[in-house]
């Protein structure tokens, strides 16, 4: 009898976050004894769509996908569902498509809110803030930005964002943008970054000016960031449990594909938390830091 085959698709393997996600999908698929077709969206909605189309021709039994864009990938996911292939989405939730088997995720807006709240907690009396945004137009960038502003905008007089620029999720750009910000505005109290790479770039920029007491917040809880948190270089990073998301999603998909077991919950939402020095043990990838 044939082994089941599932498609595991992530937005872009250029980012360590998704490499981890796909690795976890791979590991869980192996544990469940199913074949995995891997797909890298290469940061392009048409590419991820094409991968889904190719997988449907190959008659995969289920799809586990973290969509690059929740709107643009909807038609492809719809197509899969119409073809009778169960779909489980991870991380980013697709609205308006009927029949998605389940969604496992941690909302990026919620993550952004958590990040900002952690900063607020650290500066109860207000703060001057730099904000480094992600790639303009990219889904996570939009959502994380929204989360940060949801928290800070109502407290505008206490928490001023004095410098807000995109650094395209990239470390090198974050470094030069932060340098420019420091030169123009002097030292801020905190820097909120839409991912860890940018946060680590900001760390370097501050270190170069000896501004070691600026509190810098990252997002994604990558092992490298966890080390920086441990060493006190980062104040915190947002953990969305991508590994747990991925494993759960694969379990749900395989269970359904095997014998039509409906998932207990259609919507598994993990609450994002901010990892600081005191709760490092909550971080999913702490083990990778040794």
């Amino acid at each position: 009898q044939d082994k089941l085959t599932i498609l595991g698709s992530v937005p872009s393997l250029g980012f360590p976050f998704f490499v981890h996600m796909l690795n976890q999908i791979k590991a869980e698929a192996q544990a469940q004894g199913v074949n995995l077709v891997e797909s890298d969206g290469q940061n392009s909605a048409p590419k991820q769509t094409a991968d889904i189309e190719a997988a449907l021709v190959q008659k995969v039994n289920a799809i586990v996908i973290s969509p690059l864009d929740v709107n643009a990938l909807a038609p492809a996911i719809e197509q899969a569902i119409q073809a009778g292939v169960p779909v489980v989405t991870i991380d980013r939730r697709v609205d308006g498509v009927e029949g998605i088997l389940a969604h496992v995720g941690a909302d990026n807006v919620k993550g952004g809110e958590a990040e900002a709240q952690a900063m607020v907690a650290a500066f109860p009396d207000g703060a001057k803030i730099f904000h480094l945004q992600g790639q303009p137009g990219a889904g996570p960038a939009i959502d994380r930005n929204k989360g940060v502003h949801n928290v800070l905008d109502p407290m505008k007089d206490k928490y001023q964002i004095i410098f807000e620029q995109t650094a395209n999720f990239a470390r090198a750009e974050a470094l030069s943008v932060t340098e420019a910000g420091l030169a123009a505005n002097g030292k801020p109290d905190a820097i909120i970054c839409a991912n860890d790479d940018m946060a680590l770039g900001a760390v370097e920029a501050c270190a170069a000016r000896n501004f070691t007491d600026v509190k810098i917040y990252g997002f994604d809880a990558l092992p490298e960031a966890l080390v920086a948190v441990r060493d006190g270089k980062l104040a915190g990073t947002v953990e969305q449990f991508p590994g747990e998301q991925s494993r759960t999603a694969v379990q749900i998909a395989v269970a359904y594909a095997k014998d039509k077991t409906e998932p207990k919950e259609k919507l598994v939402l993990l609450t994002p938390i901010v990892i600081g020095k005191d709760n490092l043990d909550k971080a999913e990838r702490l083990g990778e830091t040794k």
Partner: protein, 338 residues
């Protein structure tokens, strides 16, 4: 030089022509055979139609790019322009910038697909015209003008949409991206029709021949009485038009216009044209070549994905095969000309 040579010459023309575009074509055939042997379902009609649909977006732009490159120009702005025209189409289709995020087929409040299509291609053509104007009047090299365009149009797109996508079009519009005529996807039909049209224009009209002449030697073309500046502007209008058309089809296909659409397309599109044998120094090339070039890239990507080749390895293999395909073409030409 008597009748015998003349006869052989005449038939020689067609054979030579065929052989000219033979390299990439043979390579394409080879790839298809290899992928089919590896996994026979590769040539399932469904998959073939998938590939056709996939290449239609960049293929459409590549048609326009063929005109530009034939004049020894280049257009780096196409990816951004695609996003810009897509956003314009979405605004027109939805009647505003508010993203209703409704994926239901009845979500549209706007002016219908025809107005959206018209807006996309007109805006594309205008944007191309402005760039063409800067190239000919301000004497700024195409590379610089369209590099500027690349960032300007992206910025405009983000400004219009405030970074987010605009999604949810009505069924009549979505048909252009997802519909079928018989078994054939609509985007593939649009691409094929456009390719035939472009082929006729370039090969059988005075305008088309003037494009080749300008690319072959702009100064000589001017001395021969061609209106070089007008022709140069026109090719940027054409590529802009096609970027608009491609944007419309892409938005219809994804049911969404994204501000980040088309990033990096300029390189894919230019590769399709160049792999198809069009010279970046102008004057040499054909639409047929571009279609083959686009198909080569599409088949390669699909075939590797189909065989579950890891994404990193895919990059390596695609890069090497593109180089090989062109090397093979050059080698064949150096043999065949006798």
């Amino acid at each position: 030089m008597t009748s015998t040579t003349e006869q052989s010459e005449r038939s020689g023309i067609n054979v030579a022509r065929l052989l000219m575009s033979f390299g990439p074509l043979m390579f394409l055939a080879l790839l298809i055979v290899v992928f089919t042997v590896l996994k026979p379902s590769f040539i399932d009609p469904i998959n073939i139609f998938n590939i056709m649909r996939q290449i239609s977006i960049t293929g459409l732009i590549a048609l326009g790019m063929t005109f530009v490159i034939l004049t020894a120009g280049i257009d780096l702005s196409v990816g951004s322009l695609l996003a810009f025209c897509g956003m314009v189409a979405a605004v027109v289709a939805k009647g505003g910038t508010a993203n209703t995020l409704s994926l239901s087929t009845s979500g549209a409040q706007g002016f219908g697909w025809f107005a959206a299509l018209l807006a996309a291609v007109v805006v594309g053509a205008l944007a191309g015209g402005v760039q063409g104007f800067a190239i000919t009047r301000l004497k700024v090299p195409p590379f610089v003008v369209t590099l500027g365009g690349l960032t300007v149009f992206r910025g405009l797109t983000l400004t219009i949409s405030n970074g987010g996508p605009i999604s949810g079009f009505d069924a009549s519009m979505r048909w252009f991206g997802t519909g079928l005529i018989g078994p054939v996807p609509v985007p593939a039909i649009i691409f094929a029709a456009a390719a035939i049209l472009c082929h006729i224009v370039l090969r059988y009209t005075r305008y088309g021949r003037a494009v080749y002449a300008v690319g072959g030697n702009a100064e000589a073309a001017r001395l021969s009485g061609l209106r070089v500046d007008r022709i140069l502007i026109s090719v940027y209008v054409i590529v802009g038009f096609f970027a608009g058309l491609a944007a419309f089809v892409l938005s219809a296909r994804l049911n969404s216009s994204e501000a980040v659409a088309g990033i990096g397309y300029e390189l894919t599109v230019i590769s399709a044209v160049v792999i198809g044998g069009t010279s970046l120094f102008g004057g040499i090339g054909s639409v047929g070549g571009t279609v083959v070039g686009a198909a080569l890239i599409g088949v390669l990507q699909n075939g590797l994905q189909f065989n579950n080749v890891s994404s990193y390895t895919q990059s390596i293999v695609i890069g090497l095969i593109l180089i090989l395909a062109v090397a093979f073409d050059r080698w064949l030409k150096s043999r065949v000309r006798r």
